[in-house]
Symmetry: C2
DNA sequence: ATTATTTATTGTAAAAAATACAATTAATTT
DNA sequence: AAATTAATTGTATTTTTTACAATAAATAAT
């Protein structure tokens, strides 16, 4: 027996929801679609799964094509398979979301795709069901970030506690008490205080911290309350 | 433009990990595979996604084929796409897990697939990468059940608190203090105490409860600590 | 009929975690 | 030298979680 004859084959795509943080707001990276249908319209970066490639490999390839980056945080989100989601031909899409340090990307920028960062709240209409993909990704990040330290993936290696707090406040669209936030974060044992300060944001300057990677990997799966009163996320 | 020419199409399957609870242990429902390859070996219930069908529809159809049940708890788990996972031909599989009341299934049993319930811990070797699917499903259930009331889906409409506790202890492979468990569960406001008792398990008999469906739906997404000290799940 | 047995049910005190809340410090700017 | 700005730090209160055991309700045994 060589094939499952009589069964219908279909196209499989991977779409990446790429998140970045500029210090103020959460952003997503979109491209202008280069082929029909919807050519020239804003879209997620995606591509078809190739014959010899796993889904993770496909997602990593697509992410690298656009950003030049490897080894970034990339997680399978959900698989979308409504029969009519692509008007040309049935295409099932496995979505992934990526969390990257926005500054690393800017260093690597390639103009092949006319990519642009958009504020999550002000992003243009997307093609097909990609709006729904972004919305699910947003939910997943909130959900996961409430208990696992994924948001560090959006920051540079060196960051300050006020920067970290801004990120959390932005993702959860809330305000957090400075004293309690600091206590909570330091209590995780995930941070190493550095000797130098970031003087950009204030006169006094805020101490830089970096991740204790040992503890980060060891405790990643443990539940931590990063957000006060996590209710519905 | 009619098609994405030049792209490779492939087979898309759905596999269902079906969980049940017999009052003692967690079980999964397996079938004897009816066609080559691996014909006659234990397998998850699955099938190919049909041209006009969404993924959810496909999963529901497959679940109904085997169990006769509709409207059960069914959630997309993960999509598996290693190129060589099926030796015959590349097939990507979207896995779903289902939580059903094992007694409902037994009423509906059909012998078409030579299905059998196996204790999760004593299940036979499965074909392809289905072992990994089951393992991921187990993890997902633990994770989700620690904060959301999904385990009620495994119980009959009327159940007792000791039964519920046994289920939690079984899923989390732990023991929980009776007083604290009862307090915790009743504090959710999800339970309605009934007038009659289950006399099967004890001389005194335990009061039956049922879900307050209103509150169940309203609070499903809220975070609740069902398990003391959820650490790594 | 009484006693023994078995499981269901319930409460409280102690410990831990989360919350609310503001003064001080370190630098730069005026 | 004073004013300004944001960073840093502590404590009292409340809430939640945990640890822990006696009593109640029914049946079974004598």
């Amino acid at each position: 027996m060589l094939k499952y004859s009589k069964q219908t084959r279909l196209l499989l795509a991977v779409d990446c929801i790429i998140f970045g943080f500029d210090g103020e707001v959460l952003k997503i990276l979109l491209i202008k679609r280069g082929f029909q249908p919807e050519k020239g319209n804003w879209s997620l970066m995606g591509g078809f799964v190739q014959p010899e490639e796993s889904l993770d490999q496909s997602a990593n390839r697509i992410l690298k094509q656009l950003t030049g980056l490897e080894g970034v945080y990339l997680e399978q989100l959900y698989t979308f398979g409504q029969p009519q989601r692509d008007p040309i031909e049935r295409t099932v899409s496995v979505s992934y979301f990526a969390l990257i340090d926005i500054h690393k990307y800017e260093a690597q920028i390639s103009d092949d795709y006319q990519a642009e960062w958009f504020q999550l709240k002000r992003a243009p209409k997307l093609i097909f069901d990609q709006q729904e993909m972004v919305e699910q990704a947003r939910k997943r990040i909130r959900y996961k970030a409430a208990m696992h330290p994924i948001l560090f993936e959006l920051l540079p290696t060196k960051f300050t506690i006020p920067q970290l707090q801004t990120l959390y406040e932005c993702v959860f669209n809330t305000t957090i008490d400075k004293r309690n936030f600091s206590k909570r974060v330091l209590a995780t044992g995930l941070l190493i205080k550095l000797a130098d300060k970031d003087k950009a944001g204030s006169k006094r300057g805020a101490y830089y911290y970096q991740l204790n990677m040992q503890n980060y990997y060891a405790k990643f799966q443990a539940f931590m309350n990063f957000i006060p009163n996590p209710d519905t996320l």
